[in-house]
Assembly symmetry: none
Homo-oligomer: 220 residues x 2
DNA sequence: GAAATTGTTAAGAATTTGTTAAGATTTATT
DNA sequence: AATAAATCTTAACAAATTCTTAACAATTTC
């Protein structure tokens, strides 16, 4: 779920944009002035900014220069070539003139998010106190690093990825020893025991639930 | 010096674009049909593609779907919202309608190149005591030059570029021996051992961490 | 309460990693 | 073209880590 900051002082336009984006499942934050936008940017992380240029208190151009690492799409009534060039060269990623077409706006948002996340690292898998950093092969409990072996990592990754399902013993074994037919239930039990013990070092809560006769799952 | 492929069948427009871009110092390759474009793409590497949609032999839309990893700006007379959305969603990064403004085109090209190359800029890669001078192929530890072989340099560059990720052994091997299938884990281990020893000559700290069963990463 | 399943523990087997040195290969130099 | 220098690969062994095995305890189901 991507978070988008909409910076636009005209309430009618603001509402139109908000409705359009909400329908697509984006999470919207609203700013009605430049200074408000900066305040929000300090507090939270956004995946994209939709920015009007003519704002009270602080112009869109100034915001562009202050923002780094977040893609910006300018949405402006100013349609002169100079305005566009100026914004694009000083850091904006796209420039759309009003009145705009909803579908086109959505497509251009898609382009920016696509660009950002193809290079970016994978999103971590979070569940309550657990956080699995996929590109780091690291499990955090309460933001503390837990040292896992390759197999333990594979197990917790599988459970977290299928959080609402029961993972049968066989499925877990498959995912652990991809090719080898060493599949041994006893061994799996030991791994899960060790994994539980390691997690228990950092929290009181039990996260791995045994489903008698079937397998394991993440406790709800 | 960036290389741009211009795909446009109208010779007048083609010449205008070519002149505009040449003045800016870009290196231009010209294709006057879709099939010609594909042939050129197989032969050389480009940094950007300027693409007309209505082409002989193969449409621009088809090319968009075949191209990966190279930013595409569509330059088209088709100005319907559906055309834009279609292209953007199937892989184009920007869409400019004809007639276009030269300065705006240049600015939008700038945006695409900026995005692509912001990651591998020539800025030195710094991390604690380490500093990798990319344009110099030099590693400094405590501002002292460390003599690295080509392979050792490739390894430390990869690790530093992906500082927060674990680099799997395979990924490292790929980046070392781009084409050759000599991929040998044993060899990689020796290189890393040598690299560690060289760094150890200049500092007490260990920088390369082994992730058992997975690969290596820069120690936090 | 008996049978089946799951949990824990510890030892040694197996795997992976680190280091070294010798031989092969590539690159530079005369 | 031949030699020297540097780099890379291979192989062997030591060290570290992880995995499996097996025995026994605890728990659940019927």
């Amino acid at each position: 779920m991507k978070k988008i900051l909409v910076v636009e002082d005209n309430i009618d336009i603001h509402n139109i944009i908000e409705e359009l984006l909400s329908k697509e499942g984006f999470i919207i934050s609203s700013a009605y002035s430049g200074t408000e936008a900066l305040l929000l940017l300090e507090k939270q992380k956004f995946d994209l900014i939709l920015l009007d240029l003519m704002l009270p208190a602080m112009s869109g151009e100034e915001i562009i220069k202050k923002v780094n690492h977040i893609p910006i799409i300018v949405l402006s009534a100013k349609c002169s070539s100079d305005d566009k060039v100026n914004c694009l060269l000083s850091g904006a990623n796209d420039y759309i003139t009003k009145p705009f077409d909803g579908k086109e706006l959505l497509a251009r948002i898609e382009v920016q998010l696509r660009q950002k996340y193809k290079s970016d690292s994978m999103e971590p898998l979070k569940y309550k106190e657990l956080e699995l950093l996929l590109d780091n092969h690291t499990l955090l409990v309460h933001n503390q690093k837990v040292n896992l072996t390759k197999t333990e990592y594979a197990i917790i990754k599988n459970l977290l990825l299928n959080r609402n399902q029961v993972m049968t013993k066989n499925k877990l074994l498959e995912s652990i020893s991809m090719d080898t037919e060493d599949c041994d239930e006893n061994s799996l039990r030991v791994h899960i025991s060790n994994l539980r013990k390691k997690i228990r070092d950092y929290t009181e809560n039990e996260y791995i639930e045994s489903i008698w006769g079937i397998g394991f799952k993440i406790k709800e």
